[in-house]
Every structure is written in C-alpha cells, then in structure tokens.
Symmetry: C2
Subunit: 252 residues, 2 copies
C-alpha cells in the first residue's frame, strides 16, 4: 500500500481534516490512479502512521478518513545520523536512498579535506532539495514512520560544532579496519539506551585525514572498525545501519 | 596498495615466477604507473595473498618477487551465496559490487516469476562477463582474498536443483518483514560452523511468489525477516552480509 509523509502532526491533521495535496495529490491520483474507497498510509510529523481511505477527490486535493493506526514500530530504537564527506558523482544520492531504507534518521554532508567536489551555496541548496526528495520517496517505499532530514554544511567546523549534541560519536576509519579494530561498534551499541542519538562519521572517497580524526577524537569520537574488508565511502553506512538493526531488532 | 587477483595457485605461481600480464599488466603500468621497486598485493586462487615488489617490466608482463605473506583473514567465516531474481536496469551491477565489498562468496542470478527482464543465453553470457569484471574490481578494492564467482541460470529449476549443496538456505521474504519475523537470521547464524555454506535467496523487484517460497521451503529453506522496514531487492543483500559480518567478525 502506498505511503505518504504529510507535513503536519497527527493532531493537527485530525483537526483540519485528512488531506493529500500538491505532489502527493498528483502522485496518488495520476500515478497510483487511486479512486474513492482506495487506501493508503499517512505518516505524520510526530511519527504516527495511519491507514486512511479516500472519501472524495477534488481538483486540488484528496480527502480521506482514518481506518486504523499502524502499531508496528518501524524505526530503529536509537536515532542514527550519518555524516558523510561530500562524495563524487551521484554517490550521495545512493547513500541517502539506501541508508533511508536501512533506518537512518538524519544525514549531514560536509566538505572533507579529501573531498574532490566543491559545492557552493547554490549547489548545496539544489543538492539538499534533491536528496530530501530521495529520502522522502525511500522512506515511503520502505514503510518508515520518520522522513530523514538532510543538512549539508559548507564548512567542516559546522559539523564539528554539532558533535556535542550526540550521546555517542563513532568515526569509521579505514586504518581501524586495517589494524583489525573490532570491538568499538559492539561496545557502543551495547552501551546505548533507546531514544539516544548516535552520530557516525564517514570520510569521502579519499578517507578522513589523521587531523580530522583527531579533531573528532578530541571531542569524544571513537574510531570504529567495520570488519576486515575495506568498504567504499558509500557502502560503509549500509554496514553500520544493518549492524545496528541486527543488534537491536533481531538479536535482542 | 593495489591488489590483483591472479589465475593460479600460490604454489604454481612460485614455480612459474610471479607475473602480472594482460589487463593487470596494463592496469599496473599504465593506470597505476607503477615502476620497478613498486609494491602490490597478489591474491591467488587458493586465497593466499602476498605483498610483492616489481623487479622488471617487459612489453608484455611485469615480474615480481615476494616480500611477505598477508596474515589477516579478510573472508567471512562462512561461505555466503547471494541468489537474486534478475532485477531491472543496472541494479545487478550494484548488488555485485557492494555485496562483494561486504563479503559475498558467490552469486547466482535466476529468472524469478516476477522478473521483468528476459535475458536469453547471449545476454546472460554478456551480463556474466560484465558482473565477473565488477566482482574482480570490487574484490581487489576491498582487499578480499577470494574473488566471488557469478552463475546466471536461465531456468528457475536450475537454482532449485542446487539447494541441496548448501548447509543452510534462507529466503528473504517481504511478508516475513511485515509479520515481524525476527528470529530466523540469528538462529541460523548461531547454528552455523566455520566453512559451512549459506544460500540466501532474494526475489526481483516484484518479490518472490508464494509458490516460489513454498518450493524453497519444501527443500529446507527458511523464511527470514530483515527488520521491520521494507528493503528493496538490491538493498536486502547488503543487510544480510553486514549482519553476518557483525555477528561473526565483531560480536564474537
């Protein structure tokens, strides 16, 4: 069943009446060809998700009524933010799409020392718009309750200044893999409580520099190995999110 | 350091002299611009990996001498085969590249009931060639000791007839995720011994049909959930391989 993220809380939507408008209106009527009586999921800002049924269709919007509330929890028990050094080409699109399916809560992109691409503010805005759309579609497709948000910073220090907001910070560092570091991810996940915030930082293709890693470490970040194979910058977040799901959602 | 898979065993290469020829010759000299004294990894068919140094360069091949043997084990303790229903577009390329980084040992592609693409033998051969090349490059880049192999079958039954060769068979089934099945992957991994063979079967975009799942179940395959979020056909193998690495390489 199709899923739509709507820009209000559940309470506000109940008050105003359940509606789909804009692109979601277009998608439901012209792409999905839904008609009166058809059902879809509506996911609200406060992560309430309901099954709703179309009661009428106007030229601008679809009206719906609530059928039932979704009870299964689709979100990871901890909030995981994936910070990536700007990668080349359309790799960031792949990271956001797949990591959204795998449960990422928030994305931060930053210019790493070895990032080849240089994005000015105009490019950052355009990229953010595109990535937000990809996150929305992937969240709908994977039946998420939360639509991941995207922050692209233009300075490395903007990332650094946010580290204090997290309960735990991990730094995926290729040298940790090479030296066989295996314990940190397990230790961190074992120590965290539901609702806490984890930031995992990944370098661009060229990796993080020792100075960047030191900056993160001085603020409490811990180097973390992801097994003995060297993962590309876009693959490493998939590993971390899958391991987090396995740890909390399947093992426990 | 660059890594090359060579088509002989370690013993045979010692006898014949260490060499790079063909595409690897071209890559080392013209792409990597290596010169006498430069070092690279050589990975042999029997999974021995050495660090070797270039001693001379001719018009056709590079001669090398052994410097040291790689001791860290880069392979998952169990042999994981990823079977995928033929997906659309270039998704199979993505699956092979990323799943190779994540440790897959072997790939089987098969025509699922809901597969949209129809590949004849000529197309299968061409696709196999392309996927083999992608697996080789990804195995080199991720420092694998084994180059994953590719088998594309033209009949569903060719996959079915191979199930008996595996110690365990898991079937990733979207309905298992929806019903909250959480225990099977953990149970299977906990039961397996090093060196055993695991086959994990994934449907194409449209999923496996109930009849296909029943066929696998009748031969001992077990339905397996991968957390509460619905993963795309190309994302689900990344989850399974990351979970396997986490289970054996980080947790234990």
């Amino acid at each position: 069943m199709q899923r739509y993220f709507v820009d209000t809380t559940y309470a506000a939507a109940q008050e105003a009446g359940l509606r789909l408008s804009g692109e979601d209106y277009h998608h439901s009527i012209h792409v999905m060809r839904m008609t009166v009586g058809g059902q879809c999921y509506l996911a609200f800002l406060d992560q309430v998700v309901i099954i709703a049924e179309i009661t009428s269709i106007s030229d601008d919007f679809v009206s719906l009524k609530e059928i039932s509330i979704e009870t299964q929890d689709k979100e990871l028990p901890i909030e995981v933010t994936i910070a990536s050094g700007f990668p080349k080409g359309d790799k960031y699109e792949l990271i956001v799409q797949k990591a959204t399916e795998l449960g990422a809560y928030h994305f931060i992109g930053f210019p790493g020392k070895t990032s080849v691409v240089k994005w000015d503010q105009k490019k950052l805005n355009k990229k953010n718009e595109r990535l937000t759309k990809i996150a929305k579609e992937a969240a709908e497709q994977s039946h998420r309750q939360h639509q991941p948000t995207i922050t692209l910073v233009s300075q490395f220090n903007e990332l650094v200044s946010q580290l204090a907001e997290y309960d735990q910070v991990l730094v995926a560092y290729e040298e940790a893999a090479k030296s066989g570091e295996a314990a940190q991810l397990v230790q961190t996940l074992t120590a965290m409580e539901p609702g806490q915030k984890l930031l995992v930082i990944f370098g661009p293709e060229g990796g993080l520099t020792p100075a960047e890693v030191e900056t993160f470490e001085n603020l409490g970040g811990k180097r973390c190995g992801l097994g003995p194979r060297i993962l590309r910058t876009e693959t490493a977040p998939f590993y971390v999110l899958s391991a987090i799901s396995y740890h909390y959602e399947l093992l426990n």
